[in-house]
């Protein structure tokens, strides 16, 4: 049996029934990765030895009759912008190519405490800036459904790894869609939790008021399990939320009877791929047939979200990335005086998209332009947030496409930053409002997965997961794995 094809909850059952060992599960995933990752290229760093050592300790616990967590012995992967003590954390940037953190991110600590097995660190667009992994300073990850195409980004390595069977679950970070877009393109489940639900301590900052860590998995139950492990207040992140972490797997089966679903018309944008739109509309009809009630809603400020995001995110990035100065850590260029050393270090260390965003953000914050750009964007952000507050007085969740198209081809948009930014048009407003949203597979268009986005109010993760679970269980998308042309 191919253990790498199973879900975490299935593997957990087999482990506790002692039908398989954690070492066997880990070996299956590692062997799969040996075979597939020469083509898919999800991983920047693999940690086979540490993974097997951890699996062995889990087997010993089980042998002693100890109870183990639902993630114990289950192989997963971390996006390479989450700090791992003693293991390289590169952010897919030449700037941090040799950076070895002297501490763990909070999520890394929590996963270790849950005895999860970590098989490696995954590729991303440099510093999480991008929608395809083509902005990685090292290499581009491929979509397991069609290796000519991108896996989405920025957490493309984490998405592709789970879709390809190179990990059972993984973590990504989502600033403007960076979990949900790869989940949609790779045909898996991805959740961006409420801003502050998961600690950002040890997550390398891109745009601090928008960044949020969340899980990828091959079904909704696994996604709920991982959220339960990583969520919670953390005194080291003052923006983490004081609210109890639920057992999100407990009430997944409550159904959608009487649920009010809002359909925001502004999310069905002009230029949307017709078979993506029809897949989403068909899925909504199915939820209605299962007992949900549909309400058409309008969120008039949606069309300003992308512009707002690209001012706020880049302004925050220009400040956050000021720390890369060639002194304390990271790449250092030659220079006789301090300013030339800074300029050389940063020009050599950062790739073009990162440079572009730093400059855009610096411009938006600079003297004479602050009011016209940055302050204006903060005001429009208020209006966008108010759109969400208003609709959630009327509906329980919103349903929308995750992206206007299916996965695009490698190279197709890389020379046109604005065309690339448009891929995030349906995901960005959610980060600006700070609310949670999940992407799950809802069909195929020309052989490529289509993602449906379920959006809820502040801290409504349980509700979102319940809706997703109800839809998922009526279909078999979660039972299909990408057939990798070169391997399977």
């Amino acid at each position: 049996m191919d253990l790498f094809r199973l879900k975490a909850h299935e593997l957990h059952e087999k482990l506790t029934r002692r039908e398989v060992s954690a070492v066997e599960i880990t070996q299956s995933v590692l062997a799969r990765t040996d075979k597939t990752d020469t083509v898919i290229r999800s991983f920047i760093t693999r940690t086979q030895d540490a993974a097997l050592a951890k699996a062995k300790t889990v087997d010993e616990k089980i042998a002693r009759g100890e109870a183990v967590s639902p993630l114990a012995g289950i192989p997963g992967a971390l996006k390479d912008n989450m700090c791992t003590n003693g293991i390289k954390t590169t952010c897919a940037s030449k700037m941090l190519a040799n950076f070895i953190p002297p501490y763990d991110a909070t999520v890394t600590e929590k996963l270790a405490a849950a005895d999860a097995v970590i098989v490696g660190k995954t590729n991303l667009d440099e510093f999480a800036m991008g929608s395809s992994t083509e902005n990685s300073g090292f290499f581009t990850t491929r979509n397991p459904w069609d290796t000519d195409r991108v896996p989405g980004g920025s957490s493309g390595g984490s998405g592709a790894a789970v879709a390809a069977g190179e990990a059972i679950w993984s973590l990504g970070s989502d600033t403007g869609g960076s979990i949900r877009l790869p989940a949609a393109y790779c045909g898996i489940v991805g959740l961006k939790p409420t801003y502050g639900r998961v600690s950002r301590y040890g997550l390398v900052a891109y745009a601090s008021s928008l960044d949020q860590i969340g899980p990828f998995a091959r079904d909704v139950r696994d996604c709920a399990t991982v959220l339960g492990v990583i969520g919670g207040y953390d005194r080291r992140d003052s923006t983490s939320i004081h609210s109890p972490v639920l057992d999100y797997t407990k009430n997944l089966g409550v159904g959608v009877k009487g649920l009010k679903i809002g359909l925001p018309r502004e999310y069905f944008v002009a230029g949307m791929q017709p078979d993506v739109e029809s897949a989403i509309r068909r899925s909504i009809d199915e939820l209605v047939a299962m007992g949900a009630e549909l309400v058409e809603v309008s969120m008039p400020n949606t069309k300003y979200a992308l512009a707002t995001y690209y001012l706020i995110a880049t302004a925050e990035a220009s400040s956050n990335l000021g720390r890369y100065d060639g002194v304390g850590f990271g790449h250092r260029g030659e220079g006789n005086d301090i300013v030339s050393m800074y300029k050389r270090s940063r020009a050599e260390g950062f790739g073009p998209e990162v440079q572009r965003r730093i400059m855009l953000g610096t411009y938006a914050l600079s003297s004479g332009y602050y009011d016209a750009y940055y302050l204006k964007a903060l005001k429009v952000r208020t209006l966008i947030k108010q759109d969400f507050d208003r609709v959630f007085e009327k509906v329980d969740v919103l349903i929308a496409p995750t992206a206007p198209t299916t996965a695009f081809k490698v190279g197709e948009k890389i020379e046109d930053p604005l065309a690339m930014y448009l891929m995030d048009v349906c995901t960005i407003p959610i980060n600006l409002a700070g609310v949670p949203a999940l992407s799950l597979p809802c069909g195929f268009a020309d052989g490529l997965p289509v993602g449906m986005q379920i959006i809820g109010p502040h801290l409504s993760e349980e509700k979102i997961l319940q809706v997703a679970y109800t839809f998922e269980q009526a279909h078999d998308y979660h039972k299909q794995m990408a057939p990798i042309r070169e391997v399977d």
Partner: protein, 95 residues
């Protein structure tokens, strides 16, 4: 034109980025196109709207001032490109 080559040169200096002539041309075109797009925000009436820097209503988060273990010096210097005698070495700053 929203911004010209001179603006980009200035922003590159503020951003501490050394750009080639070729990069300057490329970024000028790309940033101009992005700013052109961002102009859509001028359609929005924001008079009387409060700016929102953050979605959570958090102000100064306080905690007791308790001594905690900090990063040992060796660990802090472990990733430094040019450490020397327990310090970070930089080019001359003061004339």
């Amino acid at each position: 034109m929203k911004l010209n080559r001179k603006d980009v040169e200035h922003v590159a200096l503020l951003s501490r980025l050394e750009l080639s002539e070729q990069d300057l041309d490329k970024y000028t075109g790309q940033l101009d196109a992005i700013l052109e797009y961002i102009d859509v925000l001028n359609q929005v009436d924001t008079s009387g709207v409060e700016p929102m820097a953050h979605v959570l209503d958090i102000r100064n988060v306080m905690r007791p001032d308790v001594v905690q273990p900090s990063l040992p010096r060796e660990a802090a210097l472990m990733n430094a490109p040019e450490p020397e005698n327990g310090f970070f070495k930089v080019p001359k700053i003061v004339e």
